[in-house]
């Protein structure tokens, strides 16, 4: 089956350190066919809905085979091979994702901050991560809930600036912001279901811009 795989520069597995074969040959799990006691025995990949959690420098379309199954937030299989690099996943898109998440964290903060308050007005008037970061830096004397919500927005905004300043760190900033926006949503709505909904929003955003199908 077709799936997606994030790798470090040079087609290297982020945790195994194993280089995926360049010519599309199958990469076999260390103990293909054996009961999965530890993850290092298996090949891992993402469905579209898992992408936000596993971001790294390179994104590839991969083919999986052999006992393919879902394990929480990833796919596991006995073997996999690279099909093609998804070039749309680049530093610019990572920064764009980071920014989209920062705006979501800002939106979540607006539901927590008192309407009409100086903090609410300041954040509501922001259009970019840079503006959000600047606005958050000015906020003071917030009660704890508001401070936390605004804090998430400010943190996410700063990560966008980091992604833009140093493209080599963009994957981490993008991934963190997905995480921050999820936290921000769960906190604002005081509902764990909000975390799942936020992740689903992120998956749709990515699917749309990468030209891939969700739920497939």
């Amino acid at each position: 089956m077709i799936a997606y795989k994030f790798l470090r520069d040079g087609q290297v597995g982020p945790f195994s350190g194993v280089r995926w074969p360049a010519g599309g040959e199958w990469l076999l799990a260390a103990t293909a066919g054996a009961p999965a006691r530890t993850c290092i025995d298996q090949v891992h990949a993402c469905r579209v809905e898992d992408l936000a959690e596993w971001m790294n420098s390179e994104l590839w379309r991969v083919e999986l085979d052999g006992n393919v199954r879902v394990d929480c937030d990833k796919l596991v299989a006995d073997r996999g091979r690279l099909v093609e690099r998804i070039d749309l996943w680049n530093a610019a898109l990572m920064a764009a994702f980071a920014e989209a998440c920062a705006l979501r964290a800002r939106d979540a903060a607006l539901t927590v901050l008192a309407p009409g308050s100086p903090a609410h007005r300041a954040l509501a008037s922001c259009d970019t991560a840079e503006e959000i970061a600047a606005a958050c830096a000015q906020l003071s004397d917030l009660e704890p809930g508001a401070e936390r919500a605004a804090g998430y927005a400010g943190d996410a905004a700063r990560h966008v600036l980091g992604a833009v300043a140093d493209r080599s760190t963009a994957p981490t900033h993008a991934a963190v912001n997905g995480f921050i926006a999820t936290h921000a949503a769960a906190f604002a709505e005081d509902d764990l279901g909000a975390a799942a909904r936020e992740r689903a929003w992120q998956a749709d955003w990515l699917a749309h811009r990468l030209g891939v199908q969700t739920g497939g």
Binding site: R148, G151, Y152, D155, H183
Partner: protein, 224 residues
């Protein structure tokens, strides 16, 4: 020159038994073979307990003599390697205590009461923070350090010193596992501990050595 009786093609166990038998017969070649196999590692091991090279070599020499004097009584319940290590470890420890003016604190530090965290709690955000438990002062990226600083003699010396400051059982585990490259089950057999226990000791030891290395490298950077 290796005598024909001791050579390749035998299992480790058989090999060891043949070596022990030859030693008991008083064959010098067997003793030379034993030193070939373990001599360098023993000196390295002794140096992790004892700073002074000459004293460390003395302790190794005493160890070899104790091995010879005990070879008739050695029952083979543990491997020769394990037995030799235990002799060295005991002698090196007592000698290290005698050599210093006052006993180093670490010689008496038990492990049971040692519930230090791997990293100081103040390196992380407090419980009230929105990122409770996350890094407040994150570790830096050592890949930016020049290789000669990270892998140089001074750094290795610092690491050795950090090992000497560890509580005894933590030092044993980290030296056998990470310096000497013994397998976990060999270490458990040598020290008479469970695998879980071995991992806990290894965890504490590695955490302390990493922390010492971090302090050293950070201080180095600050003076540049």
């Amino acid at each position: 020159m290796q005598p024909a009786a001791i050579g390749a093609g035998r299992s480790d166990d058989e090999d060891e038994r043949a070596l022990i038998a030859a030693l008991r017969r008083g064959e010098e070649a067997a003793f030379v073979e034993l030193i070939d196999r373990h001599g360098a590692a023993l000196v390295r091991l002794a140096r992790t307990f004892i700073r002074d090279r000459a004293v460390a070599e003395e302790v190794v020499q005493e160890t070899w003599l104790a091995v010879l004097n005990g070879i008739d009584r050695f029952e083979g319940r543990s491997s020769l390697k394990t037995w030799v290590f235990q002799i060295l470890s005991n002698r090196a420890r007592s000698r290290a205590v005698r050599e210093s003016r006052s006993a180093p604190f670490s010689a008496f530090a038990g492990d049971g009461a040692d519930d230090q965290a791997a990293v100081d709690a103040d390196r992380f955000r407090g419980e009230q923070h929105r990122w409770a438990g996350h890094w407040a002062a994150a570790p830096s990226d050592w890949s930016h350090l020049p290789e000669e600083r990270l892998l140089g003699r001074e750094t290795l010396a610092l690491v050795l010193e950090a090992i000497r400051m560890l509580p005894p059982r933590q030092a044993d585990v980290i030296v056998l596992r990470d310096v000497e490259g013994w397998q976990p089950d060999e270490v458990c057999a040598a020290l008479g501990i469970t695998d879980a226990n071995q991992r806990i000791l290894l965890h504490r030891a590695r955490s302390k050595v990493r922390a010492a290395l971090e302090r050293y490298l950070a201080a180095e950077g600050a003076t540049r």
